[in-house]
């Protein structure tokens, strides 16, 4: 790993497979320095941030062959044979008192400088032809190499790997034990360790194809999809919240379930790609194909107050481009957002041409701009069960018939309308009441002002109920009106005692002579967005009457008795006003109560435009029609039908709320041609030229018949000419099994990637993948059936010395499990793991206080029953506060696309495994299992637990050490029964729990080896 080497294929000069141009590190002698592979990548990495683009520093462009040949303002870079006289060498060494390059960064090392010097001494020649990075040339199926140890080879994978081992003088490790094999392959394919029973069955199966039968069983397991999906969901940045400050919840789990199902069905990778990127553009898409498009709806969404929503959407589109490029092409398109890519052949124009595919989403503005900011919302669809669909149809058809009924009855209301018009014109006679009693549940003080208004002061609790009593002003009471009085005593001059001057009247009730009167909130002159009058008489404290931002104006709310009350004047009426919403102190602070005996009290509140029609001496046909339409909505004769309709609507709303929804992609239907602006420096506000949707120019072109939309993009990605898609996916699959990709930087196969350890194998697998119809299970079966995969994980002495990172794969992999697998393995070993699949995300044990978002009042509601022990991929993912045990074990926050997780080994991981309540519960459960298995002897219990955790039997020394520990624990908990009580009820339970705790903390328990 001396100088950083890159692998360059010579597109023009290459004869035969691209790999032929590669030379292995060992084959390169220091006397033959190649600029393109040994110097150029380094210069690009270190110098191109200035020396590139339209106006490169000093006129020198180091990113193209032409630029290097031309040199800069100081002339040509190289004087062949004379390093000291060559500008390149002078500047890199800082000779002649000039600033040393790269300016502002660390200089090249002595070794690197020597390489430059050697190259110049050798004549400083550049290779002929076009320089093209290997990964941008379509793979050609390489020949399977010949090897000496031919009988070790089980399939072509082995030949490729063995060839490199033999070249390096390494021998493959022996085949792993059956116990090691079943553990490894079970973890790899379904993500949990095998049970003791499964291990025994495999050990007892002596048929020659026992291993293959095992592999087939695992590939067919429904849990296969759960294991595979975890990695994909990191790429798809799938989460259950929107991210950023507000970080509200979203429902997207039907997409997560789609991924699991697709893997289980072994959906070919080309279909898998097309459906996720463009399922909505397929002819007559199925519900499932629409759900698949959730891939690119997993972007974050910034709903913070004051965010420029157009800009937020722009960022979403940017993320769709970069994530799509990383996921399928394994390149970092994001660099080209602001400038042409420094290393890879992607221009800014390429970037925005790609973005054009995503630049016209169908979106709606949400909310009323006059009240608050509007937010953008993209489409979501309902994913109902069959039963839910049926119920919905029933409700909708009932609603239709009620609506019809309303329409037909409305035709017979002429007479009533004339009466209503008269009432509206003449006005309603209201009388202000003088209360005989005023009471606040919380103890606020009431003051009756000279104008009969009521002023509230004193204690101002978060919630309050007022009871106002008054005598019947006449023998008849048909309606009550609450009139708010704006008052400078309150915030914003409002009538409310809240920090905004607003109120929320969540319920009003009326009694006359002690008898509850059914009432209807029939009119108000202003209602805050999101509130409706029906809420004033229902039982939901969050619905009701409010009037932000119009707090500083007087408002009226009319409550009509459904049947006017007839009572003696001496009788007492009692009005109860409840302020019980979540909004603190939204209590009314200054108001009047008015009453009337007149009918049609609601006619007193009429919108200005209708009032104008009423008052006009003449009426046009259109005006008459408008009046009629308006009346339909206030006609008392239709009250009950309207109530029925509202009730059906509420039922429908509740049903709809219970139907899962999911986020889907949809383009603006009005847009025919997909274009995007280039944005100078990547800034939202700096719009430059408009470009058409297209794929990067340096890669294979789009098929001529492919539509220039997401569907065309998806088809191009999975076309056989695309040099990257298959390589990227097989490389990621390889990493799943071996802990390291053939190209270690699985996230980047561009020019700056790490060199492939087995380039021919990568291309063989990529071509195999395309030839076999993009069949993932088939590739995975090849891998796990290979001799390479089946090796013992113990390195030979020589491997330790010459290949300590096991790049040449002379022994099996041994890596710590990823976060979710650690938890799943612990649950599985303890017998707690639930087999339940799919559905809404769950909330397993999490320490209190992890969720403390500034805005969303959402709480972590710990799940019940088996949902506590579901596979980890069903755990609710909150982006700003991810599940702590997962982050401790290197899982990301799903805020952006992550291909490769760094694997660390930290004390916080130790603490989690020792003490996390969820994991300690598993220790108790495992303890219980061992106690049962220990019916005959403690040894048997220990062995059972050890096998459940590590998939093998303990050796004598291990067994002895655990027995000693068990004895110590027995002594401890017999002496301290109170401690035992806290752990597991009794001493024996505590002892076995602590043995469980020990076994679950073994390095081996959380390692795939």
């Amino acid at each position: 790993m001396n100088a950083i080497r890159r692998w360059i294929a010579w597109g023009a000069a290459a004869a035969g497979p691209a790999w032929m141009a590669l030379s292995s590190p060992a084959a390169q002698t220091p006397t033959e320095v190649r600029f393109e592979t040994q110097i150029w990548p380094n210069l690009k990495a270190r110098c191109a941030s200035c020396h590139s683009g339209a106006s490169p520093a000093a006129g020198l462009d180091l990113t193209t062959k032409a630029g290097i040949e031309k040199g800069g303002v100081s002339g040509r870079l190289v004087k062949p044979g004379d390093p000291a006289g060559s500008v390149l060498y002078q500047r890199l060494t800082g000779a002649n008192g000039l600033a040393q390059m790269p300016m502002g960064f660390a200089p090249l090392t002595q070794d690197e400088l020597k390489t430059v010097r050697d190259w110049i001494l050798q004549g400083g020649k550049l290779a002929k032809g076009e320089w093209k990075h290997w990964a941008f040339v379509a793979p050609v199926r390489p020949k399977i190499p010949n090897v000496k140890l031919a009988n070790w080879v089980r399939n072509p994978i082995d030949a490729f790997v063995l060839a490199r081992m033999e070249a390096a003088g390494l021998k493959p490790a022996p085949t792993a034990s059956k116990e090691q094999l079943i553990r490894r392959v079970t973890l790899d394919l379904i993500g949990v360790p095998p049970t003791v029973e499964e291990i025994d069955a495999f050990l007892n199966d002596h048929s020659p194809n026992a291993y293959e039968k095992l592999v087939d069983r695992l590939l067919d397991s429904p849990h296969y999809g759960e294991r595979q999906a975890r990695e994909w969901l990191d790429l798809a940045r799938y989460a259950d919240t929107n991210g950023y400050e507000k970080d509200g919840s979203r429902v997207a789990w039907p997409y997560r379930d789609w991924v699991i199902r697709a893997y289980n069905a072994n959906m070919p990778y080309d279909q898998f790609t097309i459906q996720q990127l463009a399922g909505d553009l397929l002819p007559n898409p199925t519900l499932s194909q629409l759900v698949a498009t959730g891939f690119n709806r997993n972007t974050m969404k910034n709903e913070e107050g004051g965010v420029d929503q157009e800009e937020a959407l722009f960022e979403v589109e940017i993320d769709r481009v970069t994530t799509t490029a990383t996921t399928w092409l394994g390149v970092t398109m994001g660099c080209a957002r602001c400038h042409d890519h420094k290393y890879d052949p992607f221009t800014m124009k390429d970037f925005y041409s790609m973005m054009a595919f995503f630049a016209h989403p169908d979106y709606a503005k949400l909310g009323d701009a006059s009240v608050s900011e509007q937010k953008f919302t993209e489409p979501s669809i309902q994913v109902p069960s069959a039963e839910q669909s049926k119920l919905q149809q029933q409700l909708e058809s009932k609603m239709q018939s009620v609506q019809k009924e309303i329409a037909s009855r409305a035709e017979q209301l002429q007479k009533a309308q004339i009466e209503w018009e008269a009432a509206a014109k003449n006005g309603i006679r209201w009388y202000a009441v003088v209360p005989t009693g005023m009471h606040s549940k919380a103890g606020a003080a009431f003051q009756l002002k000279s104008d009969s208004s009521i002023f509230v002061s004193g204690t101002n609790p978060d919630r309050d109920d007022y009871t106002i009593q008054f005598r019947m002003p006449a023998k008849r009471l048909s309606a009550v009106c609450i009139e708010t009085v704006p008052d400078k005593a309150f915030v914003n001059g409002g009538p409310g005692r809240s920090d905004s001057g607003n109120i929320v009247l969540s319920k009003a009730r009326l009694k006359v002579g002690g008898v509850e009167q059914p009432i209807r909130a029939s009119a108000a002159d202003f209602i805050q967005q999101g509130y409706a009058l029906a809420g004033v008489t229902d039982d939901d404290p969050e619905t009701g009457w409010a009037f932000y931002p119009e707090v500083a104006k007087p408002h009226r709310l009319i409550l009509e008795l459904k049947t006017p009350a007839q009572a003696a004047r001496s009788q007492t009426a009692e009005l109860v006003l409840e302020f019980e919403s979540v909004w603190k102190q939204h209590n009314l602070g200054h108001f009047k109560i008015l009453v009337t005996a007149d009918e049609l009290a609601r006619a007193d509140i009429v919108p200005n435009d209708i009032r104008a029609v009423l008052n006009s001496p003449t009426r046009s046909e259109a005006e008459s029609q408008r009046l009629k339409e308006y009346y339909k909505n206030v006609a008392p004769a239709l009250d009950e039908l309207r109530d029925e309709l509202a009730d059906l609507q509420a039922k429908l709303n509740r049903l709809k709320a219970s139907i899962p929804t999911t986020l889907v992609m949809r383009d603006d239907p009005k847009v025919q041609r997909f274009t995007a602006n280039v944005h100078t420096r990547g800034e939202f506000l700096s719009k430059a030229e408009i470009v058409e949707a297209n794929v990067p120019q340096a890669l294979s072109p789009m098929p001529s018949n492919a539509p220039k939309n997401r569907l065309g993009l998806a088809k191009w990605l999975v076309s056989k000419q695309n040099p990257l898609t298959a390589r990227v996916e097989v490389n990621r699959m390889w990493e799943m099994f071996f802990g390291r990709g053939i190209v270690e930087t699985t996230e980047n196969l561009g020019v700056q990637c790490s060199p492939p350890s087995h380039p021919e194998l990568l291309d063989w697998l990529a071509t195999e993948f395309m030839q076999n119809g993009w069949n993932r299970k088939a590739i995975q079966k090849l891998i796990v059936m290979s001799a390479v995969y089946r090796q013992d994980s113990k390195p030979s002495a020589q491997a330790l010395k010459t290949d300590p990172e096991n790049i040449l794969l002379s022994h099996g992999p041994r890596v710590r499990m990823e976060a979710e697998m650690v938890r799943d393995a612990v649950l599985k070993a303890s017998g707690l793991l639930s087999e339940k699949m799919f559905g809404p995300s769950v909330f397993p044990y999490q320490p209190e206080g992890v969720w403390d978002s500034p805005f969303s009042g959402e709480k972590w509601m710990t799940s019940k029953g088996e949902d506590l022990y579901r596979r980890s991929l069903y755990t609710f993912i909150k982006r700003t506060a991810p599940f702590p045990m997962f982050t401790t074990f290197d899982a990301g926050s799903r805020e952006s696309c992550i291909v490769r997780r760094v694997r660390t080994n930290t004390p916080l991981q130790s603490l989690a495994l020792l003490n996390d309540q969820g994991l300690f519960t598993s220790a108790r459960a495992l303890g219980e299992r061992m106690r049962k298995a220990a019916a005959k002897s403690d040894q048997e219990g220990i062995i059972y637990g050890f096998r459940a955790c590590t998939s093998r039997k303990p050796n004598a020394a291990e067994l002895k050490r655990i027995e000693d520990y068990l004895a110590l624990m027995k002594k401890q908990y017999q002496a301290h029964p109170w401690d035992a009580q806290k752990i597991a009820g009794d001493a024996n339970g505590a002892v076995w729990t602590m043995v469980g705790n020990l076994l679950l903390n073994l390095d081996e328990t959380i390692t795939k080896g």
Binding site: E245, N492, Q752, S896
Partner: protein
């Protein structure tokens, strides 16, 4: 086992626990992959550690640090159009009115620095602090601006400053994380936990949140009924069993895991000891305004001092609730701002004084500030009459003290209205470059290769602000 330990790079990288930084370590070991990186520090550092008091929500510079008499004269007048052309605001619509500060400023200390009367305790330390009045940022919404302030980029995913520093320099503590986060105020800051994420750096460099309720560090307490003695016996057995496996597999990861369990065990006693401030003398409690067991900014300030005393490299305090728009008394300049100032003033000043009296201020940097500034104009959302200001990225103030920073100075200035910076502008990248410089790091050299390129905290920007340095 020692031979084994030297076998692989990954062991060495992971051997560190919370110890030496990987960048420093790999450089020391002349590791090829990082060969271009010099050892850290690159030069003699002025400071060894940092306490960053992050005022999430963005305190108003015009009411605390940057007095504007001309603005006061024009109170209530329309904001001149030249300022509004092409500007975007979070909430202001139409032509807003200029808003004078409802609070008074005084000159304090020998240096005579201007400071609001809302910060009487901070006024006592003005001779030790440098007020930067010319900060500016690109972001005008809280979450992106906080992420930018902490990671140098507005989108989540990059390592935070504390992660970069511990990656480069490591921690001087044997049994505490190098980067610790403490939170007080209404709730977590707007940007969420990515503010102290290690991004693409290994997670060992992420900020560890020390909580005021429950376990200070997640999972640090043994389950009920598991005594220290039981834990020790369990760990002894675990160590021996893991060692047997190590001998068999020769996998150095196991060796690392064994040491991490030992470190975890030490944390089980060092963390509770650290968090227990009850044994601090009464004079200290009086100075900070602390009372043991409370979730308060004051307690966190005292904890910050205790953490750096124990070798922690970077301590960051978040105090949320500075977003004074004026839509209600809970977030305006006349009611809410004074309350918030009261919560932090005494303890912030006490921290600086305490460090000074212990001789630690010389090599500890203290930073106080938010993510952006506030407008010279009144926001008046929904017709609100209460004084409040909208988000303002073009100019804001922040103070620094100790660790090679000049005391008693104000750097930079804004125009008469406090709208734009007119002298010595300091960008977020400049601030980062300066902080790294004080820690002995050339900000262009602290890099990490990811997605095919070298990343820096300062991206491709940043200049050290020489005028701030002693």
């Amino acid at each position: 086992m020692n031979e084994l330990r030297e076998l692989t790079r990954r062991t060495l990288l992971k051997q560190i626990g919370f110890g030496v930084g990987a960048a420093a370590l790999t450089a020391l070991l002349n590791e090829d992959l990082f060969a271009q990186q010099a050892a850290f520090p690159n030069f003699a550092p002025k400071a060894k550690r940092i306490i960053y008091l992050f005022m999430a929500g963005a305190p108003s510079q015009l009411d605390l640090w940057d007095p504007k008499p001309v603005l006061s004269q024009h109170d209530g007048q329309d904001c001149p159009e030249e300022y509004l052309k092409g500007e975007r605001f979070a909430f202001i619509k139409g032509v807003p009115k200029l808003l004078a500060s409802p609070h008074k400023f005084v000159q304090a200390g020998e240096s005579g620095q201007w400071i609001s009367t809302l910060l009487p305790h901070t006024a006592e330390i003005v001779d030790d602090i440098a007020v930067i009045r010319s900060m500016h940022t690109d972001q005008f919404n809280h979450a992106p601006a906080q992420i930018f302030m902490n990671t140098g980029n507005q989108l989540p995913g990059r390592p935070s400053m504390g992660s970069w520093l511990t990656y480069g320099l490591g921690s001087e503590s044997r049994d505490l994380p190098g980067f610790v986060v403490l939170i007080s105020g209404d709730s977590n800051p707007d940007g969420g936990k990515c503010l102290w994420s290690s991004g693409f750096l290994p997670s060992v460099y992420q900020g560890v949140e020390f909580r005021s309720k429950g376990d200070a560090v997640l999972f640090v307490s043994n389950p009920d009924g598991v005594t220290d003695r039981v834990r020790r016996e369990m760990l002894d057995a675990l160590k021996e069993l893991n060692a047997m496996k190590l001998k068999e597999t020769l996998d150095p990861e196991i060796d690392t895991r064994i040491s991490q369990y030992e470190l975890a065990y030490r944390m089980q006693s060092s963390v509770p000891e650290l968090m227990d401030i009850s044994k601090e003398p009464a004079s200290i409690h009086e100075m900070y305004g602390t009372s043991p067991g409370e979730k308060s900014f004051a307690n966190n300030c005292l904890l910050a001092r205790r953490l750096i005393e124990r070798g922690v490299r970077f301590v960051q305090l978040y105090h949320r609730g500075w977003d004074h728009h004026g839509t209600g008394e809970f977030e305006d300049l006349t009611h809410a701002l004074p309350r918030r100032c009261k919560e932090v003033d005494q303890a912030s000043a006490a921290l600086v004084k305490d460090l000074k009296q212990r001789g630690m201020l010389d090599d500890t940097i203290v930073i106080w500030g938010g993510e952006f500034g506030r407008t010279p104009m009144k926001e008046g959302r929904g017709g609100s009459q209460l004084p409040g200001r909208d988000h303002h990225p073009r100019a804001f103030s922040l103070w620094m003290a100790g660790g090679g920073i000049k005391g008693g100075v104000s750097l930079g200035s804004t125009d008469d209205l406090g709208y734009n910076v007119v002298e010595d502008p300091v960008s977020v990248h400049d601030l980062h470059a300066t902080i790294l410089h004080l820690m002995g790091i050339d900000h262009t050299r602290l890099t990490y290769k990811y997605l095919g390129r070298q990343f820096r905290l300062t991206d491709v920007y940043g200049n050290v602000v020489g005028k701030l340095l002693k």
